[in-house]
Symmetry: C2
Amino acid sequence: MTVYANSSEGTVHWERFLAERTKHMQSSAIRELLKVTQLPDVISFAGGMPAPELFPVREIEEACGYLLREEPMTALQYSTTEGYRPLREFLAESMAKYGIQHSPDNILITTGSQQALDLIGKMFIDPGAPVITERPTYLGAIQAWRAYQARFLTALLDDSGMIVDELPTMLNKETPRFIYVLPNFHNPAGTTLTEERRHRLVELARQHDLIIVEDDPYGALRFDGEDIIPIAALAPERTIYLGTFSKTLAPGLRIGWIVAPAEIIHRLVQAKQGADLHSSTFDQMIANDIAQRGILKVHVRKIRAVYNERRNVMLDALEEFWPEGSSWTRPAGGLFLWARVPKAINTFDFMRTALAKKVAYVPGNNFYPENDGGFDAMRLNFSNAKPEKIVEGIRRLGEALKEELIQL
Amino acid sequence: MTVYANSSEGTVHWERFLAERTKHMQSSAIRELLKVTQLPDVISFAGGMPAPELFPVREIEEACGYLLREEPMTALQYSTTEGYRPLREFLAESMAKYGIQHSPDNILITTGSQQALDLIGKMFIDPGAPVITERPTYLGAIQAWRAYQARFLTALLDDSGMIVDELPTMLNKETPRFIYVLPNFHNPAGTTLTEERRHRLVELARQHDLIIVEDDPYGALRFDGEDIIPIAALAPERTIYLGTFSKTLAPGLRIGWIVAPAEIIHRLVQAKQGADLHSSTFDQMIANDIAQRGILKVHVRKIRAVYNERRNVMLDALEEFWPEGSSWTRPAGGLFLWARVPKAINTFDFMRTALAKKVAYVPGNNFYPENDGGFDAMRLNFSNAKPEKIVEGIRRLGEALKEELIQL
């Protein structure tokens, strides 16, 4: 038991007051890594950070000026939990283009997508209750739901996304609170769920009367091929869809959203009231202003072109510098690819070597809910570093891998 | 069981997936009321809203301009969960003036004070675990902790704040996860905990080795008398102190903070990582800029003078217009007073009459965790409406009360 003291008059045995769930919480590797990777000479492929030099700074400054001149009493005041109505109207319209037919009343604005994951966990997960995720899956979801003591059942991924045919056996034994899927440019794997598998997933969910959580932070960032219909468009009655401005506008604003059937939104609103009352009114109105003026659309086109180039640079550099026995996914969009190293190397242990060479990534095991896989893999982000840094970082990693292999 | 359908192809029996805790959540009366009170002709004493005409709009616009010119890549990017370091440094210095001696490492920035309450609940409350609050207490705390299925034990308030002498009997039978207290200008009661009682509370907490949660959103808004030493200054080893910019700067920015022993902060950081990664970087930097340039200090002096006047106007109007048998607290600061009506009237039922007269308040029962009291009381906010509106609203309420009494 930890004894804490910083007063001469008292010590607290505070650990005896901890909730059971708190013992299941862990610090996110990514968050801890961010601290290291903020050092200016480290080339980081670790975070999921947008390219900061592309932020539409002048446009955001204009939005601030406009809002503070025209609507300061609204922009700085408390607002409703559901979120700023014009923004929800914009989102309803913009998602309709992807086939998601929902009204603004079906939308809840969240403090980033991470809060959406937390609220969903709070709403649905009892201690020990099963949830189905992909294997690997987004570590922020693992972290959010571990805090509610979820039991993770996992379905493997391949190049076509979740292997949906793994589900029937699972579903005959267990009834998950929901099935969590990242269909587009998967974090961390970079893969995309095929249309055929989306239909099959919906069919299974209907057959077993289940809820699907569709996490889609990167859907707008497609470089190759055509958009694939969202699951929320195929099964609006049972899909909770998550979107965010973090990748398309600016993560510092912490604005995401949930689209779901009205009754589910109603419960999530209750959960959000207790969690933070509402998301920043000012940031919601900035995002709305940028979106409504058509700036977002232009901006997304721009970052898509830049990230496409960076993905290509990273793929070429991997080809050039990495040792035989390595492999990687070729994402059609998004921010990440998933690289496998020769089996002899453990990517968790290798992190120390990489950091000594001033390169950072996220070791693959962080994306396995039970920490029981991914030791030969790493997640590499290609959106944040500039092309010459990408080449340099991938070269350094490749050399370090080769040195390691020689020593083994 | 609710059956939801908005697709021709499926219905979901989603309630069977709800977590046990979700069944304990309720919508906040205040949030639901806000919707009504946004109608322009309603005089609202319901919310806890600052006077919007006093927001330092020009200064915030300058801060936005400055930040987006000088540090756009930081202001719009992801940041650490702990919060923007210069802001935490400012807060550490500024709290030292009140006797709270903690380093910036003991501070976690939260998405408003409401998130602090949620994170504390997440960290400490198992289903059925006891927590001690005042009676009445802040409804946002009730809402946050009900979601974690807390069992509420309550200690009565009088004009000197929590009746600390009620605690020993409770503490002989139960070990609460923490004792929650609003020492300054209590929400909803408007009362202030005397220095003597603060010492007594700390003594009891030390004797039983307990944690105190000190919620202090209004401490800077004192109109009469001298500041009283914070509990966190008396017992830094066992106090979790909550502060916020919502009342001193602007609630729309959603920036609050927690000060606590380092080990507790460490756990709360883990909980916050899963909850929303971090609070808006941009809003944190705006608050920091306003604070560091000394604008906050000047601004607080200004709103203090205005709220002081409004409190006086409300007290005078109550004296003039309310029926015999009514009584109210005389807060030395803050945003609220607590008014009792003649016993024959139920303030929850009377709300409909009041809204018909276009005046809103929060019925007292909302501040009782078990909804078992406060039916002869209401919370009245005096910060939001202008003096002439305050007089008019209190007059309308007084007349309605008198009419009601005649009919009974």
